[in-house]
Amino acid sequence: MLEIKNIEVYYGYVKALKDISLRVEEGQIVSLLGSNGAGKTTTLKTISGLLKPKSGSILFHEKIITHLDSSAIVRMGIVQCPEGRQLFPDLSVKENLLVGAITRKNRKQINDDLNQVYGLFPILRDRKNQLAGTLSGGEQQMLAIGRALMAGPKLLMLDEPSLGLAPKIVEQIFELLVNLNKEKGLTILLVEQNANAALRISDYAYILEVGTLTLEGDAKDLLKSELVQQKYLGA
């Protein structure tokens, strides 16, 4: 579904990603793990078209999307739920969700999806007229995911959805991701520092270290691997 081939990304003169290649197959949950500053967010930003690679290419359904701008990439079905949630604080909860659907035209479908999101997160329905900035951290993360879902993603990319949330809420959110994947067939690319939780729900995983991919494999194998255990799972 998504294929990244040998991309190199720079911030000014600083090389942030070195020769990164990865694949996400349709219907999978794939994790991209690594510590702070490893280049996970940079990778997602590049896929979303916010950053342009100096070399290499990105393909979606066998089509090259490297040159496209972010709005075209969203329209193809690649939607990102960014790090730190990045909500529109002074828009209401409902308006935030509607911005998620801004690329879509069919009003009826948008309305249906709105109700689906409210079904997934009933709290958002209760607070639909409240400003997004007044929500709690967990509610904000739900809104961020809901907003991304409103765009009708084929590939949902989540950047650190567990950041700063209580373990119980993290559990809820990961459970939701599994359900979306299993029931709706949504393909997910998950960026996480919480390697343990991510690996448990993933099919496949990549590990990034200072801009380079150092390890990849089936999530189950990585979970058992001693190297991963030591470095990322704190065992």
Binding site: S48, L50, D69, S70, S71, I73, V74, R75, V79, Q80, P82, Q86, L87, F88, P89, D90, L91, E95, L98, V99, G100, I102, T103, R147, A151
Partner: protein, 295 residues
Amino acid sequence: MVTFLQQIILGLREGSLFSLVALGLVLIYKTSGVVNFAYGNMGMFAAYIAYTVFAIAGLPLWLAVLTAIVFGFFLGAATERGLLRPIRHLSHSAMLILTLGLLMILEGLALEIWKQDYKPFPSLIHGRPIFIKFPQGRIILTRQDLLIFGIAAVIMLALFLYFKFTRVGLSVRATAQNETAARLMGIRVGTVFAFSWGVGTALSALAAIMAAPRTQINPNMMLDLQIQGLTAAVLGGFESLPGTVVGGLLLGIIEQFVARYLSEELKMAFALLIILILLLIKPEGLLGRRSAERV
């Protein structure tokens, strides 16, 4: 007491024009993050276009006004697309300096094309002025004064409804709040910038045309209004459109009182003084609230 009321009415008359000017400035600033120093002169240039269509080409007044407003829209959109967007990645001050340059270019260009002499421009509506009688005298309000007030009110309401209830309006508000997130949701942020520059500059064109019967059309006609509009925007906190309108009306009243009870010459200086004091003690504006910086 009655003079007091008179001063307020006269202040509102001036203030509604300040509000109109300020609305466009705030709209442009809120979405693209740039305080457009060339804003007034862009309106001035559009007023010259109206003059050319009306007085030189001899076409109807309404067509001249419409042409100028449409011209203003495209001038604004083209400025954003052609001049500002290419340097957006450089720095904020680069964009500010560009608008300063544009201010001077437009002034020079207007002088070059239309020469030095002031051009008269008619009021949009005529008719007997309205007299409001008080025991100690009366206030005269021209129809144009009432029109400015009416237009400012209608435009504010229209903008408010448009931004609240349409998809484009939602895109503009979202972009103003978080540009990166707007991009990630698929909003064409560039189009939003160009659009709000267009609408903002069209407002400047409209304000210039409204002011033209009094100031006559000349390269400096918007100099004072640019500063007054900026002051009104600061008073309103550079934030919400309703706040901006209130800021404009308030400035009109303040200036009126300064002119009446201190001195006519001081009223412009007073506008600058207000900016200074407000920025020092209440940078979020009288009606604004503290919030995170946009850029």
